[in-house]
Symmetry: C2
Subunit: 333 residues, 2 copies
């Protein structure tokens, strides 16, 4: 277990110790953008001094918020570091005098070299073995933000975060066992579905977004949308019938009752066999501080849902991570 945040994060934050940072821009695209949502949730809940925005890389560059300047910290993320929009966003932020920290698997990548500081993280799909959760994209992002809050306003949750991150992998391993049979059943049930929605709120919303756009749409060519659990009741719920298919995340943050309400509606007006519910109350979160459970549950949901994606791909006869029409096949768009 780590007893302090990673050295590169420590050094990046030390470099802005004397700068009055008031605003954090969290900038990325697609799956990397999805982790920024719980990052903002964490900031909203813990900081009274820092405001923040979450933007897609190209939206950030073209929108060019007037606020962006020397008192801004811009945290950017791209798995490979080759996402053009995000690398451009780093250059744009630097030109405006903001301080930039890039998160990427590859510090030598275009994004890694475009930012003033680079923080490497790991992904188990490249290492081939389970990684320390503190070294994942979520883990690194939470460390940057917890370290920043400690530095800027003296609110210190770093110990609790590190302790909780060290207990995450065992919780993920146990979660896989909890969901295995359920995923088999739902993969068969969802095998012909033309549309599957995901549904979440609060710290879980990013995981629901990522699963909708990167897994269902990108890898399985299934139509989808990540529906916010309360927005659901202001339009989207009218598509619900007995055949409507949903993946519902019920987490442990302050917005839990929104997710419960949506699940209850779906159970009542949809069919239980078409509503795949992941409820964090079913999980063994031993060692994860109660204050951090809400923030780490989406990592557990997302990690376990990969198994569901593979099972669903089997049922549909597609090959996940390989079958693509455009991404990395066509380069001139």
């Amino acid at each position: 277990m780590k007893t302090e945040i990673n050295q590169d994060i420590h050094a990046a934050l030390a470099a802005i110790k004397d700068r009055k940072i008031t605003h954090v821009f969290l900038v990325a695209c697609g799956g990397s953008l999805s982790i920024m949502h719980p990052g903002k949730y964490f900031l909203d809940r813990h900081s009274s001094a820092l405001t923040s925005d979450v933007y897609n890389g190209d939206e950030f560059v073209t929108r060019d918020p007037r606020k962006l300047g020397p008192s801004s910290l811009v945290v950017l993320c791209s798995q490979t570091g080759t996402t053009k929009e995000t690398a451009r966003a780093a250059a744009h932020a630097r030109a405006k005098g903001a301080f930039t920290i890039a998160m990427t698997l590859d510090p030598a990548s275009p994004l890694g070299t475009a930012a003033e500081r680079v923080v490497a993280y790991q992904a188990s799909y490249t290492t081939g073995v389970p990684i320390d959760a503190a070294d994942s994209n979520y883990g690194v992002l939470y460390m940057i933000l917890a370290g920043l809050i400690r530095q800027v306003e003296g609110v210190d949750v770093v110990d609790s975060l590190l302790k909780s991150l060290s207990a995450l992998q065992p919780a993920i391993d146990k979660a896989h066992l909890v969901y295995a049979d359920r995923f088999d059943a739902f993969a068969a049930q969802f095998s012909q579905a033309p549309v599957i929605y995901t549904l979440a709120s609060g710290a879980n919303y990013g995981a629901a977004y990522s699963f909708a756009i990167c897994v269902f749409m990108e890898m399985l060519w299934i139509n989808s949308q990540a529906i916010h659990a309360d927005e659901f009741f202001h339009g989207p719920f009218e598509v619900v019938d007995k055949d409507a298919k949903f993946v519902c995340m019920i987490g442990l943050d302050e917005t839990r009752r929104l997710e419960e309400r949506a699940r209850d509606f779906l159970y009542r007006f949809g069919s239980k066999e078409n509503v795949l519910v992941l409820d964090a109350r079913e999980l063994d979160l031993d060692g994860i501080d109660e204050a951090f459970q809400g923030y780490l549950v989406p990592l557990i949901f997302f990690d376990t849902l990969w198994k569901f994606a593979y099972k669903l791909a089997d049922q549909r006869g597609t090959v996940i991570l390989e079958d693509r029409r455009y991404m990395k096949k066509i380069s001139d768009y």
Copy 2:
């Protein structure tokens, strides 16, 4: 043409003249939430002193941002004023010491009475005749924000806004003529579609969101998602084939090139007959200041798209504004 912002907005802003407002929360649900996105875009582009967040009503209450307090202005909106989550959000914000302004058709409604100040707006579907655009929800929101920026930091775009709003209705009327034949053709083409996506960025994103969740999903029971024009390339675009159906908005704000890029991709890998493009360059925007065209184009798109919704409903044999399964039919969810 108005030469000054509405009296009730003027009075609401005067009440916070001596308060140091630093942050604006824009809070609502569903269709009313959708207008908050261009509101934030306007703030981002014009203000260096004010930060802002856009939240669904119940997300706002449960997330309970630590920043929320006496230096916050919370602008809330609900058409009927009966949206429970939004009325609760007003009460929550007041309890935290924030200043609250409610926008609603009905000042005597629960939301209207929950906030410290209420600003009434109008909608043509209740008045039965076209309204002055300055009295619409978008118009009133822009006036609040432009008035606030003038008061807080001396940036004055109020004249330009009012002049532009006065030229909006003629532009809308002419836009209907531009789109009439196109909407006929696409209503027939889309009549059997199980899924139709909307696509936009920047100031248009709210209109795309509202059309996806309130029109396609709520009123027509068509599966949908409002896809951000650059996020499109980071997952969603893999669902595109020759049959995929999209409504693309191409506006006049700083993010236009994102929307153009997505349209170009759809024209190339989808089919032109399945991609309904609304390009603001086709419109006659006479009298609307160039600086405000980007902010007012989404009102034109949304207003004209209602016609498309009715035509599509005719083709599908559904009755728009009446056919509902749950909303206002079942009350105990």
